[in-house]
């Protein structure tokens, strides 16, 4: 097991570490040794690619030189706030999961081990995971800065690590506050919504500001505008401590590291004592009496597909957590909607931005809903033993998804129809193709899973996730190209077909089930 004495912090840490490592290896390799080499190669190629891309993005900055002025501080601070929102979003989701996921909690809670130690370790692990994600994303940019501009940029790592600790601490405080304010039954849903809104909302808000003030759709337009910079505090202000720390100022680095980790330690020390009580409260949730529905007799006879579709819609409607997760993509439609509203009647060229974003979001939304209805079938065996053909079942599930997608797409089509019917046509064609392709990929890669693991669906089949993302992006590009000049559309269109063909080639075989 481990050399540490039982029930001590190091002992719990070793236990957690081993579980996380094995989970990670299993997710990356699917239990197949051969995949380790393949994944290693893919990761290596991605690392090189991301560094190349970072160097490409930063080249203009290196050409003019990076000075420690308000513009640079503004730019860095903007980036850090975005990373903070990403880390906070991830942390609140992870902290909530730590309370609600039962797995080994029942075992530990029923043992004579002090539960607060487990919570201390788990919160620390969450902080490490939160930090790791952001560091992984930011590393290419920081490494290129270190390489081209000097080792002082290593301070950016210290800042990201500190902000990860701070984000985790805030997530714990918010979760515990929600427990007190709204109770254990609603905390999970509200925390998930907060995570989604903060994660996507901040970026979207910045885009919104940029759009409203006519500065395009870039996330950084707001931070780099002359109005924002002129109204920002002077460079000596404490507001710029994170930015100065990122550029390697030693005192700023020490200040931010000290503050964030002291805050996290304090939060863990205070909150861990309440951990056992709160976990017991969440465990009691399953015992609660569930909602009552009015029974007004069975409906008139409908087709098999209608029966299946109705069931899917009822399950989706009654699971607000799941719905909030799958509809997150809709948040990304808000900036294009705002862009449309602001530019309505003045700039028709803006549809070249709006339509591709809609097409991409629709593909992602359809993929998520298709996973829920196809792979996340809770009574899989019941459906499999019913005298209904696979074809009918799948057709009904696909219809259920496409109807939801169509309902979401409809308002955009109505608004765009006031601009141009041609634009509506390309949006509908692109949206339909993007949604159908995402659904097709989910059909090829379907597997039996519980709906509660929806957020981890991407890790269960990386090939499916990658195909789905590529197809959505490429259909968006096709729609954009078709609107600009239809003769350009076959280029991304051909790429989509190639991705779909590769997806079809690598799809898992389904010989275990009896063919119906």
């Amino acid at each position: 097991m481990t050399a540490a004495a039982a029930n001590t912090l190091p002992w719990f840490a070793a236990h957690e570490g081993r579980l996380i490592w094995r989970d990670f290896v299993s997710l990356m390799t699917g239990g197949k040794t051969r995949r380790k080499a393949i994944m290693g190669t893919i990761v290596a190629v991605m690392i090189v690619g991301m560094h190349w891309f970072a160097a490409f993005l930063l080249r203009p900055a290196f050409e003019v030189g990076i000075a420690a002025d308000k513009t640079t501080f503004m730019f860095i601070s903007g980036g850090l706030i975005m990373f903070m929102s990403l880390m906070f979003s991830q942390a609140i989701e992870a902290v909530t999961r730590a309370y609600y996921a039962r797995s080994d909690l029942d075992l530990i809670m029923s043992s004579p081990s002090p539960a607060h130690r487990l919570f201390q370790v788990r919160t620390s692990v969450l902080a490490v995971q939160t930090i790791a994600l952001s560091v992984l994303i930011a590393a290419p940019v920081i490494n290129v800065l270190v390489w081209k501009d000097g080792v002082h940029w290593l301070g950016a790592y210290a800042v990201l690590i500190s902000l990860g600790a701070l984000a985790t601490a805030i997530a714990v405080i918010i979760t515990l506050t929600l427990f007190r304010m709204v109770g254990t039954a609603r905390t999970r849903l509200i925390a998930q919504i907060i995570a989604a809104i903060v994660g996507a909302g901040f970026v979207i808000a910045l885009q919104g500001v940029a759009i409203v003030f006519g500065k395009g759709i870039s996330r950084f337009s707001f931070f780099t505008s002359s109005d924002t910079i002129s109204s920002a505090p002077e460079t000596a202000s404490f507001m710029w401590i994170p930015a100065r720390a990122s550029m390697g100022e030693p005192l700023a680095v020490l200040a931010i590291l000290g503050f964030c980790f002291a805050f996290l330690a304090l939060v863990i020390a205070v909150s861990s004592q309440r951990f056992a009580k709160d976990v017991l409260a969440t465990a009691g949730l399953v015992e609660r009496k569930t909602k009552t529905t009015v029974f007004s007799g069975f409906r008139m006879k409908t087709s098999l597909r209608a029966t299946l579709r109705r069931k899917e819609w009822a399950l989706l409607r009654r699971d607000p957590w799941l719905l909030s997760q799958s509809l997150q993509q809709i948040l990304y439609l808000l900036p294009p909607a705002l862009l449309l509203y602001v530019n309505y009647g003045s700039n028709h060229g803006i549809v070249y931005v709006v339509v591709p974003v809609i097409v991409m979001a629709v593909g992602q939304l359809a993929g998520g809903l298709a996973w829920i209805t196809i792979s996340g079938e809770d009574a899989h065996e019941l459906i499999a033993t019913a005298p209904v053909s696979d074809k009918t079942i799948l057709r009904a599930k696909v219809e259920a998804v496409l109807v939801v997608v169509a309902l979401i797409l409809a308002p955009f089509a109505v608004v765009l129809s006031f601009i141009s019917y041609e634009v509506v046509f390309w949006m509908l064609v692109g949206g339909a193709l993007s949604a159908s392709s995402a659904v097709l990929i989910q059909l090829w890669f379907r597997s039996q899973a519980n709906r509660s693991v929806f957020r981890r669906r991407q890790t269960s089949s990386r090939a499916a996730t990658l195909c789905e993302a590529l197809v959505s992006i490429l259909w968006a590009a096709t729609a954009g190209a078709a609107m600009a000049d239809v003769k350009y559309a076959p280029i991304p269109g051909t790429l989509v077909l190639m991705v779909l063909f590769i997806g079809w080639l690598i799809k898992p075989s389904r010989k275990e089930m009896v063919g119906t």
Binding site: F298, R299, T307, K311, T385
Partner: protein
């Protein structure tokens, strides 16, 4: 008892890492209550999953009331209901909604389905909770909802895999009463269970399966008579049969 064969399995084989079902032959008469027993990993669930259409066999044939379940699975499925030890229900649906959904899948007329559902809900003591979502139900209640789902389309053959696991005495009694009354009305039931007293008291015939093969079959009295140790209970008969089979297998592998 209906003399037509409810289930006829011939030379059934299925292998995963090792053979799970190994040339199994089984004949179950219509209207019979048949208990399929065996130690863990003997191949009981794999066999029944193949009959229910949840798993494709490697070889062999399965016939349900004369319908080739491999050639025409939909026709076979119309006659069968499958109840596993983990109830296959939806947390977000109420029992009535669940039964309405199942009736739709098996194409039962709505009026008939509603009447049957009301009857089953009362019969299984679910009346108070029939309009509550199943999410907060106990294991026993969930199992009863699943059983109601299996009965609402009036199948000719009901396959139950460990249906009494986790049920309290009262719920188990209700489920057993319902099953016996179904058999009395001509329904065929195949049940796996590790609770041997249940098999001893309820089943007309008992099949014992080990290492994917049927090693003994008959009424309790027949099995008792054939037992080498003159066992008095089914538990003793079962352990005797399984131990003998394990010993024989070991001797065979040594000889090979």
């Amino acid at each position: 008892m209906n003399q037509q064969l409810a289930l006829e399995i011939d030379g059934l084989e299925k292998a995963f890492d090792r053979p799970a079902v190994n040339g199994l032959n089984l004949k179950i008469r219509g209207g019979e209550f048949y208990a399929l027993l065996g130690p863990n990993g003997a191949g009981k669930t794999t066999t029944l999953r193949m009959v229910a259409g949840l798993l494709a066999p490697d070889a062999g044939s399965i016939s349900v009331f004369g319908t080739d379940a491999l050639a025409d699975p939909l026709a076979a499925k119309r006659k069968v209901a499958w109840v596993s030890d983990e109830p296959m229900i939806y947390d977000k649906l109420t029992p009535y909604e669940y039964l309405e959904f199942i009736s739709g899948l098996w194409s039962v007329e709505p009026a008939l389905a509603e009447a049957r559902s009301r009857e089953l809900v009362d019969w299984l003591g679910l009346g108070e909770h029939a309009t509550e979502r199943c999410g907060g139900f106990s294991k026993g209640m969930r199992q009863k909802v699943a059983l109601a789902g299996a009965l609402v389309h009036e199948p000719q053959l009901i396959i139950l895999d460990e249906p009494l696991t986790g049920l309290d005495a009262g719920s188990a009694r209700q489920v057993k009463d319902v099953l016996l009354s179904k058999v009395a009305n001509g329904t065929t039931i195949i049940m796996t269970t590790h609770i041997l007293e249940v098999a001893e008291r309820m089943a007309e015939r008992i099949g014992v399966i080990a290492e994917g093969r049927l090693i003994a079959e008959g009424t309790f009295e027949e099995l008792q008579t054939n037992s080498a140790k003159q066992a008095s209970t089914l538990e003793e008969v079962f352990l005797d049969l399984v131990e003998s089979d394990t010993l024989n297998s070991e001797l065979e592998s040594l000889a090979a």
